[in-house]
């Protein structure tokens, strides 16, 4: 099988030979945080309104002990009133697909804790579309979860923030705290 270098156009048997860095310019890293100690929440503030969309990429684990994976949370512009949001979740746990809804901002059932398999951190990818548009309410969609070799969840969800304000701050939290090694990265997409 030949692999083509995206820089030189040459072919080789190795996937990366000849491929030095390429900068497409449509996806930019804005800020990130990798925790060196247990932390209750992570906030990205002063988010510029110069992008079309935002993406958040999370690899995390919480200190909250529960029988199964539990929730993380996504709040905009410091609005943690909880009742202002609306979410819908569809998830699979290896046996029974389930859908839930709530007036909340939950990344439901995505986050492992000390009761779950050690050394497993979740993955969550959140897309926030038209985040700076002041003519519409804001919607985030996400794909997240973790497999634990015998348990675990995969979750598809959407969170509505019924507010037309441009999003300039995002706070991520969970039940308990995020533990050391959890990482959070914010990107702007044009």
């Amino acid at each position: 099988m030949a692999i083509r270098s995206l820089k030189s156009g040459t072919f080789s048997r190795s996937g990366l030979v000849g491929n030095s860095v390429i900068m497409p310019g449509s996806y930019e890293s804005i800020a990130s945080s990798t925790l060196s100690s247990t932390t209750a929440s992570v906030t990205f503030s002063s988010i510029p309104s110069t992008y079309s969309h935002l993406q958040i990429r999370i690899s995390s684990r919480s200190s909250f002990a529960f029988a199964s994976m539990f929730d993380s949370y996504l709040a905009f512009n410091g609005d943690n009133t909880y009742s202002g949001y609306k979410d819908h979740i569809l998830y699979g746990n290896g046996a029974s697909p389930t859908t839930v809804t709530a007036s909340s901002y939950n990344l439901s059932y995505t986050t492992p804790g000390p009761t779950q398999t050690a050394s497993v951190y979740n993955g969550v990818v959140i897309d926030i579309l038209d985040y700076a548009n002041t003519n519409k309410y804001k919607v985030a969609k996400f794909l997240g979860g973790a497999d634990l070799n015998g348990s675990g969840n995969i979750v598809v969800g959407s969170i509505l923030w019924p507010n037309t304000a441009a999003i300039n701050q995002i706070t991520l939290s969970c039940d308990g705290s995020f533990i050391t090694g959890s990482s959070f990265a914010l990107y702007g997409v044009n």
């Binding site: 099988m1 030949a2 692999i3 083509r4 270098s5 995206l6 190795s14 996937g15 990366l16 030979v17 491929n19 860095v21 390429i22 900068m23 497409p24 310019g25 449509s26 996806y27 930019e28 890293s29 804005i30 800020a31 990130s32 990429r57 690899s59 569809l90 998830y91 699979g92 746990n93 290896g94 046996a95 029974s96 697909p97 398999t117 050394s119 497993v120 951190y121 979740n122 993955g123 990818v125 794909l143 997240g144 979860g145 973790a146 497999d147 634990l148 070799n149 015998g150 675990g152 969840n153 995969i154 979750v155 598809v156 090694g181 990482s183 990265a185 990107y187 702007g188």
Partner: protein, 166 residues
């Protein structure tokens, strides 16, 4: 602002290939994204992906899927690879291929197991979302996308991207 989402390598198959491999992946990014457009060369759609040529039962996955009639969730434990969903097969309308996006989180860290998020959209059969796990703390430097039958058909494509955080 640092720009990142860098295409690392791509391939378009010119012959039927059972094991589509990206190797020598540098450890300099935060996440990897693998974009696949696949069609099997036979009626067998069964496929999985592995890392670092590890063929032991160190993988597992949790699947959520819907086929237009039924929604279901299944699981593989202590498996030989991670499920990528149902891909297009030789009897599907042509030249239809199945798009799959695999997010491989924190792939180069050496302290945790490796989590992947997979989305496959097979318009002729089912859509699926999958969480995959490799129980290894070794940095990922090779990805194998393996068809468990004859192989991936000519014209199937795969592109690997690296994402770097600030």
């Amino acid at each position: 602002m640092p720009r990142t989402y860098e295409p690392l390598a791509t391939t378009t198959l010119t012959s039927v290939t059972q094991n589509l491999t990206f190797s020598s992946i540098p450890a300099t990014y935060t996440d990897l994204v693998l974009v696949l457009s696949l069609r099997a060369s036979t009626t067998a759609s069964d496929a999985y992906f592995r890392y670092n040529n590890d063929s032991a039962t160190n993988y597992s996955d949790t699947v959520l899927r819907g086929n237009g009639t039924t929604v279901s969730s299944v699981r593989d434990s202590n498996a030989l690879g991670m499920d990528i969903g149902v891909t297009a097969v030789s009897t599907d309308i042509s030249p239809f291929q199945t798009p799959t996006i695999i997010n491989i989180m924190n792939y180069a860290n050496t302290t945790t197991f490796k989590t992947a998020l997979i989305r496959t959209s097979n318009s002729t059969a089912m859509v699926s979302a999958i969480a995959g796990l490799w129980r290894s703390t070794v940095a990922i430097n090779t990805i194998n996308i393996i068809h468990r039958g004859t192989g991936w058909d000519i014209g199937s494509t795969a592109t690997l991207y690296g994402i770097l955080k600030a």
